[in-house]
Amino acid sequence: MAAKEPDLIQLLLQEFSQQTKFMGAKAGNEYYLEVSKEALPEVSSYLVKHLRASLATMIGNDERSINGSFRLYYYFAVEYEEIFIVLTSAINPVEPAFPSITPLVPSAQWYEREVQDMFGLKPVGHPDPRRLVLHHDWPQGTHPLRKDFNLDSLEKLPSSDYPFGEIDGTGPFYVPVGPIHAGIIEPGHFRFSVAGETILNLEARLFYAHRGVEKLAEGGSLEAGLNLAERVCGTCAFSHSVSFCQAIERAANVQIPERALFVRTILLEMERLYNHIGDVGNICAGVGLALGTSHGNRIKEAILQLNQDLTGSRFLRGINAMGGLKKDISDQQLAALKTKLEQLAGDFTDLAEILLEHDSLIQRLRGTGRLSLVAVEDLGVVGPSARASGCIKDWRKVFPHGVYGQLEFEVAGETSGDVLARLKVRVNEVKTSFDLIFQLVSQIPAGAIVQPVGELVPYQAALGWSESARGNNLHWVMIGPGNNIFRYRIRSASYCNWPAVPLAVQGDIIPDFPLINKSFELCYACTDR
């Protein structure tokens, strides 16, 4: 526990002396405040409006077996202090409801709907209390994350219709798309309301790829949890595994060897590289510019092959361990990596130059799919999508993990919030990533690669994070008896960003939707879990 709480906490406790109680700090920078559930909206809104905190994630937990209640944890990130303020409230099972904070803190909208589906806790006053994760055909009263949930009752789902929002008037009509799409894309259903070609409204119905990952982890070993973390999402596999490992390492309070941190940071950048370069190519695919697509995918493939050489996995699976790494990467391998990346960096610079000087490309991208800064802040959008709209936040800087704190780099940012801005942010981040890897390879120290994590005390919990190509991925793990997982909560970057897509496409035309969607490059697998 920290010697003294930040002034911020004192301020909060004074302001809400009746409703809050300080419960101490965990994992170094997670400050827990017990709040009566009635006061949740008021305290949350104070945090956001007066202390410039932002809601980072929210976790529901069935703790009836420990203390007789359900419990909610709202994690607010206070970036300028590098701390989290955790508002936590017990919810008595006799009255499974709580006042929704969404009317005051809109970024809570999905979290609270999810808690309603998964735990049967009702967010009273939520402006859109429809189901989110579980589709409408699930029987009433099924809440998979309750500990007493019974799998057997669920063999077949009757089908029923989802109540989509409606558009009135003569002229507008609906265009339904998905869940199976025309390309090699993940499943989701999009309901466009259009007038002519112009999109008036878009509703995305997601969670088709809901695999129940969080529940699967419960009761299993930490190692099994790590395996799942690597399969939350294929293309952010490494970032997710770092977030999971970090949660465990923070809960156990172990120091990871420096070399392991360097390797992790290198691999996080490799993951960013192949994603961003592939995405630059895919944005070109959205406008039919085959040259950009081919070169983007060619360079991406080269990086995936380098990943294979370094770790044995194109998606960087199987190398991370709790407490460090499962295997080392030799200095010779790193030197060879540097040589190959130097060449690819040159290739990418050429490509970026061609694209950013390509008039017809720029004309398609400029002004298309604009997302405002207000929307970014209200919805809690993260990653390159936020940075392209002027919200210049990068968790590599604000909550340094790996060895980012020791490295020199600038955070990319744009202000126009359109597809072009999102492309430019990626182009600049690619250049930074190459540079970071060169710095890391030249500075990496020798030494051990793992510090074993011993047995953890039951019901300890901590948050882990990493900045992936799509934004920060946050994992929260609570340990149960026997060093097994009691609760595992995964909040991916895409989960935060999906609600922004319908806003960005309003007023654009349907043929631009694939382009706009690609510029966000959101993942369904890690959103749906």
Binding site: H135, L154, Y208, L216, R231, Q308, F315
Partner: protein, 156 residues
């Protein structure tokens, strides 16, 4: 414009050389992808077949936008409860004769997600599967090898 030409010229041919032994011309297969709940790892490896390194189109293989145009359904992921109907409908919409390929461990047998409340398991729980390609995920080269081997076999 000159930049584009120079770039293409400098990079040259990158396509990985592959002998399609006894490749029968006039045979062409159209593949429709169905994601029924993957982690998207398998999907991206399938997507990589279109990059200039593997360039699957030169073998007479291609991905198509509709099951109505497809000879093969290539399915990824362990079937989620939310996608079982879509998978079945896609299968029904594919003209016979049709081949179903289960791509990856998840599609083959449910993989790491098979015991979840939200999934049914492998693709063969919902539709008949002809070929299983194991791996988590199988590499593009492995997928291509299976496809090319199949191309040389008799008509379905």
């Amino acid at each position: 414009m000159l930049g584009i030409l120079m770039k293409s010229w400098r990079v040259g041919i990158v396509t990985r050389n592959q002998q399609a032994k006894n490749r029968k011309f006039g045979r062409s297969w159209h593949i429709r992808h169905v994601d029924c709940g993957s982690c998207n790892g398998c999907d991206w490896e399938m997507n990589a077949l279109l990059n200039p390194i593997y360039d699957l189109q030169r073998y007479g293989l291609d991905f198509v936008a509709s099951p109505r145009h497809a000879d093969i359904l290539m399915v990824t992921g362990s079937v989620t409860k939310h996608l079982q109907v879509a998978l079945k409908k896609t299968f029904d919409a594919t003209p016979a004769p049709k081949i179903v390929i289960a791509l990856g461990d998840c599609a083959s047998n449910g993989g790491i997600f098979k015991d979840s409340y939200a999934t049914l398991g492998g693709v063969d729980k919902v539709i008949p599967v002809s070929i299983k390609i194991p791996g988590c995920p199988p590499s593009p080269q492995e997928i291509l090898d299976v496809l090319l081997a199949q191309l040389q076999k008799k008509v379905v």
